[in-house]
Each structure stands twice: as structure tokens, then as C-alpha cells.
């Protein structure tokens, strides 16, 4: 009888482990992004929780207008000469941050959230 209980406990532990593994594997990628201007983090935003909004990141006399629509982020407008940041469109990948070189502004996924391998690699 007691052995049945123990086997049941083991089965429960195992199932919890499997469920936990599946949860970790299927967890959505990080949605926290940060905006870095002149080497300093000026804003950290969780895209999942963010409302649709529009704001300016000011750099001296220049600005980049950042837009969040439907949990996506992009640079909608900028007065930099090349407008590469606008042309890059929506931020979609941790490997491709939106960069505005003239204004030294970067919009990127915050690396320290949910990045499992950062420590142990």
C-alpha cells in the first residue's frame, strides 16, 4: 500500500516536471524592449502590456518619433538625414534592433529577461 503511494508521488513529480518543461519550452519570447539613447537606457517597455502610443525620443535638437501599435514598436518619423530607423519598420527580432546612428538611438529587446542561456553558455 505505502509503495503505491510512493509510486503515485513519483508519477506526480514526473508529470509536474513534464508540464513544467512544456511550459518553459512554449513560453513566448521576451516582450520587454528598451530604448537606449546616447548609451543610456531612457525607457523600458513591456510590449505586451503597452497601450497604443506615440512619443518622441529627443536627442539635442533632433527627435525620433516612436510609435507603439498593437504591441509592436517602430520609429514612425525622424528628422535624421538617412531615415534608416524609419525604413527598418517594426521591431521583430532580437538580432535586428532598430538603430538610428545619427541620433545614437537603439530600440532593442532587453536581453536579460527570459534569456535562458545567457548565464550558463
Amino acid at each position: 500500500m505505502k509503495h503505491r503511494i510512493i509510486i503515485a508521488i513519483i508519477a506526480a513529480i514526473f508529470i509536474i516536471g513534464v508540464i513544467g518543461s512544456v511550459l518553459v519550452l512554449t513560453a513566448p519570447p521576451s516582450t520587454v524592449i528598451r530604448i537606449v539613447s546616447h548609451g543610456e537606457v531612457v525607457r523600458t517597455i513591456d510590449l505586451n502590456a503597452a497601450e497604443d502610443t506615440c512619443f518622441d525620443i529627443v536627442s539635442g535638437e533632433h527627435h525620433n518619433t516612436v510609435e507603439i501599435i498593437d504591441h509592436h514598436i517602430r520609429v514612425a518619423d525622424a528628422d535624421c538625414p538617412d531615415r534608416t530607423c524609419v525604413n527598418m519598420g517594426w521591431l521583430s527580432s532580437a538580432a535586428m534592433p532598430i538603430v538610428c546612428l545619427p541620433h545614437e538611438m537603439v530600440i532593442e529587446y532587453a536581453a536579460d529577461s527570459g534569456d535562458v542561456d545567457a548565464v550558463t553558455r
Binding site: 513519483i10 516536471g17 550558463t120
Partner: protein, 164 residues
């Protein structure tokens, strides 16, 4: 301690150390730190059921230190020591409840406890809560590896009579 007893313990330690080192040569298909078969624990489980608690502790402690020296992985000693300590305490207690016929269940719980101790030690040392994301995988692998080593130990226990 009688010379015969001492010799038996030394022999078991040597065997588990050899198994440990041979296992190091087997490439690990899983990239997650902490996952391994732990074949050397066959000896530990066997000893838990055939020797006195302090004798088992002696075997495990010597195995751990010598294993770290021979594998050249001294930093891993901290994690494996924490895991082994928890595992040993758990199995020595479980031994009172669980018959030899169900020895493998004790081994499974011991393996999960080992992984728990490892994870706890890693959390304390690295202070990175993200390490907890590995824990479910460690539980699953611990259950499977523990069942395997437990079944092996069960076969050995069945074949060898109690040392007098």
C-alpha cells in the same frame, strides 16, 4: 572498523569512481547543465541498502572529491556536493519506508532530490533566478535517470547477500 569492511568500502568507492570517469567519456546529448545519467549512483543506491549510513556517506564523499580531482572540474564539486548531500539524506530516510523490492522508487526520489540540491546551490552561487527555468527539465531527467540507476542497483542488491 574491521579490515574486511574497510576493504569492501574502498572497493565500492573505487568502482563508483571508475564508473563516474567512464561516464564522463560518454558524450551528453542534452545541452542543459546538470543533466546526466549518473551511473555512479548505482553504487550509492546499492550501498544505501547494504551498508550503514555513515559508511555510505564515506563512500559518497570520497567519490565526490576524487571525482572532481580526476575530472578536473573542481567548480562542479560545489553543485554535486549539495545535490549528493540532499539525495543521501533523502534516500537514507526513505530506506526505512521502502522495501528492497521497490528500491527503484527510492532511487527516483533521490535523483530528483539531487537535482533540487544542485539547482538550489546554483541559485545561491549565481543569484540568477532564470536558472529555475532548467528545473523542470532536471526533474524529468532525474526521474528517468533515477529509475534506470535504481533498477540496476536493484538487480545488484538481489544478487549480493547482505555483508556479514
Amino acid at each position: 572498523m574491521k579490515a574486511r569492511r574497510l576493504t569492501e568500502l574502498a572497493l565500492l568507492t573505487a568502482i563508483s569512481l571508475i564508473i563516474f570517469i567512464v561516464e564522463l567519456q560518454i558524450p551528453n546529448p542534452f545541452p542543459i547543465p546538470g543533466i546526466k545519467l549518473g551511473l555512479a549512483n548505482i553504487i550509492t543506491v546499492y550501498a544505501v541498502y547494504r551498508y550503514r549510513p555513515y559508511e555510505v556517506a564515506m563512500i559518497v564523499i570520497v567519490r565526490l572529491i576524487l571525482g572532481a580531482v580526476f575530472s578536473g572540474n573542481i567548480t562542479a564539486l560545489l553543485y554535486s556536493a549539495a545535490g549528493s548531500a540532499l539525495c543521501l539524506i533523502g534516500m537514507l530516510l526513505l530506506k526505512r519506508i521502502i522495501d528492497e523490492k521497490y528500491l527503484w522508487t527510492a532511487s527516483v526520489i533521490g535523483a530528483v532530490l539531487h537535482n533540487t540540491g544542485q539547482t538550489a546551490a546554483a541559485l545561491i552561487v549565481m543569484r540568477t533566478p532564470q536558472l529555475l527555468l532548467y528545473y523542470p527539465f532536471l526533474i524529468v531527467s532525474g526521474c528517468l535517470a533515477g529509475a534506470f540507476t535504481g533498477l540496476c542497483a536493484q538487480i545488484i542488491v538481489k544478487r549480493f547477500k547482505k555483508p556479514s
